[in-house]
Symmetry: C2
Subunit: 265 residues, 2 copies
C-alpha cells in the first residue's frame, strides 16, 4: 500500500519542520591550498555555516570542508559541537540495502525543527554519490528539500566535451571483467547512435588507464570520445577526439584524480 | 575523412592560443536583486571579469550578467569595449545546421591568443543549451577548453528529487502532440523500469502545467515523479511522490519559471 500523500503546507503557517539542505562540496577533494570562496558561492558558504545538524558521506572530510568554510564565515556553533552523522552504507557484497528506519533516524533533527545539511565528499550530494535514499525519506516525511547551487563534475565534463548536451545518460561504472564490459560497451554505443545520446561513465581513479584502454579497444573508430580529468584543478584537462585519433595519440591518465569519460557514436 | 589528430601541446612551450572558458551563469535568469556573489564562486567572477572576448547565447543577457559581475570585481575592460558575438542559430524549421565555418569564425580571438568566454542565458553553457558545437570546434582546433564550476538546474533537480542519481538520462523536450508524446512516455517509462534509470525532461515554462498533466495521465500510478521549479529562488520547491499521490493532490505550476521533471519507474 502506498503511504498517504503529505498535506500541502499552508504558506501562512510557520514552518514546523526543518529542511533538508543539499550542500555542494568542492570538486578538488580537500585541497586546502585553494580558498573555498574561489570554488563555492558565498551564499552557499553562509548557509553551510549556519547549519548545526549534518548527515554526511564521511565525517572527516566534512569537518575539513567546514574548516575551509570557517576561514570565510564564522560557523553558528563550534565545529566540535556540531551534530554530525555519517550516512549508513550497505555492507559490500551483502546485496542488502539499508533499512528505511536508518534513513528515517537521520532525519530526526529536521523533524524536530532544525535544518539538516547533506554533504558528500565532492560535488553534489545524491548524484553519483550516496544520499538519494535520505532525500527520498525526506520527501516521504514531508520535509522540504532545498538544493544549493554547486557544480557536478559530470556536467562540467559534459559541457567541456562538446558532445551532445541536449541528450545524455549517466551510466556510472562499467563491469570490470573484460567480456561483460565489452558487451555492455557495444550496447551503450548502439544506444548512443540510435538516440544521439552522449554516454557518460566513470571509474575509480586507479583504474582510469584501464578504462581508457577498454574504451579505445571496444568503441568504433569514428565514435567521439571525451575524457576530463582534474576538473577545476590547475592541471586539469579535457580532450575530445574520435576513437581513431585517440588510438594514434594516446594520453597518459593520472591514477589519483577522478576522471569522467563520455562518448557519442 | 577524419581531420588529423592535434599534436599534444608540449607543457614547456608558452601557450600560443587562448582557451575557451565555459562560464556558468546564475539560474535566476537575471534577478538583479540578488548579489551575484551569493550565486557564483568568487573565482568564477574574477575569471569572467578578466575576459575581453565573448561568445554568448544572448548579448543583452550577457551584458546584464557582466554588470552584476562588475558590482563585485572590476572588469578588465569597459563593458562597451568588450568583443561580444552571439552564437549563430539555425533558422527554425529550416532543418539546417549552422555551417562549421561560422563556429570556426567565433574562435578567431582564441586562435589569436586571447581567452574566449562562452556564456549561456542560465546555468552551464553547452548543456541543455546552445554552445556544444563551439566547444566541438575548439577541440578540433586544438584550443584548450576549461569549464568553470557552476550549477546546472538539471542536476540540482535530480539531487533534490531523491530518485536514482547513479543512473539517469536527460531526454530534453517531449513531443508536443498528444499521441506521439504518450507513446514516447511509454517508451521512456519502460526504459526507466528496465535500467532503473531516472528520466529527466523539461518544457518551456508556459507549458509546465500541460506537461505535468501529460505525465500524470501517461505514467503508471506507482512511478515516482519529481518536479522542481524556481531552483535557488526564494519560492522554489521540489516535490517527489508517486503518480497516484500526485493525482490525489495536484500542484499548480508557475507558467513563468523553468521547471525540471524527473521520473523513475
Amino acid at each position: 500500500m502506498s503511504p498517504p500523500a503529505p498535506t500541502p503546507p499552508d504558506p501562512s503557517d510557520p514552518p514546523r519542520q526543518g529542511r533538508l539542505i543539499l550542500v555542494p562540496n568542492t570538486l578538488d577533494l580537500d585541497a586546502q591550498a585553494v580558498d573555498i570562496q574561489d570554488l563555492l558561492p558565498l551564499g552557499v558558504l553562509r548557509q553551510a555555516a549556519a547549519l548545526q545538524h549534518w548527515a554526511v558521506e564521511n565525517a572527516r572530510s566534512a569537518r575539513s570542508f567546514l574548516k575551509r568554510v570557517q576561514a570565510v564565515t564564522p560557523l553558528a556553533c563550534p565545529l566540535q559541537a556540531l551534530a554530525m552523522a555519517e550516512l549508513p552504507r550497505p555492507r559490500k557484497g551483502s546485496g542488502q540495502t539499508v533499512p528505511a528506519a536508518e534513513w528515517q533516524m537521520l532525519l530526526a533533527p529536521a523533524l524536530a525543527g532544525h535544518d539538516l545539511g547533506l554533504l558528500s565528499e565532492a560535488g553534489l550530494p545524491a548524484v553519483a554519490d550516496p544520499g538519494a535514499a535520505l532525500v527520498q525519506a525526506a520527501h516521504r516525511a514531508g520535509i522540504a528539500v532545498v538544493p544549493l547551487a554547486g557544480a557536478s563534475s559530470l556536467l562540467l565534463a559534459l559541457a567541456a566535451s562538446g558532445l551532445n548536451g541536449q541528450s545524455f545518460a549517466f551510466i556510472g561504472y562499467l563491469p570490470q571483467e573484460a567480456a561483460p564490459r565489452a558487451s555492455r560497451l557495444r550496447d551503450l554505443e548502439a544506444a548512443s547512435r540510435r538516440l544521439q545520446q552522449t554516454q557518460i561513465v566513470i571509474e575509480t581513479p586507479y583504474r582510469n588507464a584501464a578504462l581508457l584502454a577498454a574504451l579505445l579497444a571496444g568503441l568504433q573508430p569514428q565514435t567521439q570520445l571525451s575524457v576530463s580529468i582534474g576538473l577545476t584543478g590547475p592541471a586539469g584537462w579535457t580532450h575530445t577526439a574520435s576513437v581513431a585519433q585517440w588510438r594514434q595519440a594516446p594520453r597518459s591518465m593520472s591514477d589519483r584524480e577522478p576522471a569522467v569519460f563520455s562518448f557519442l557514436a
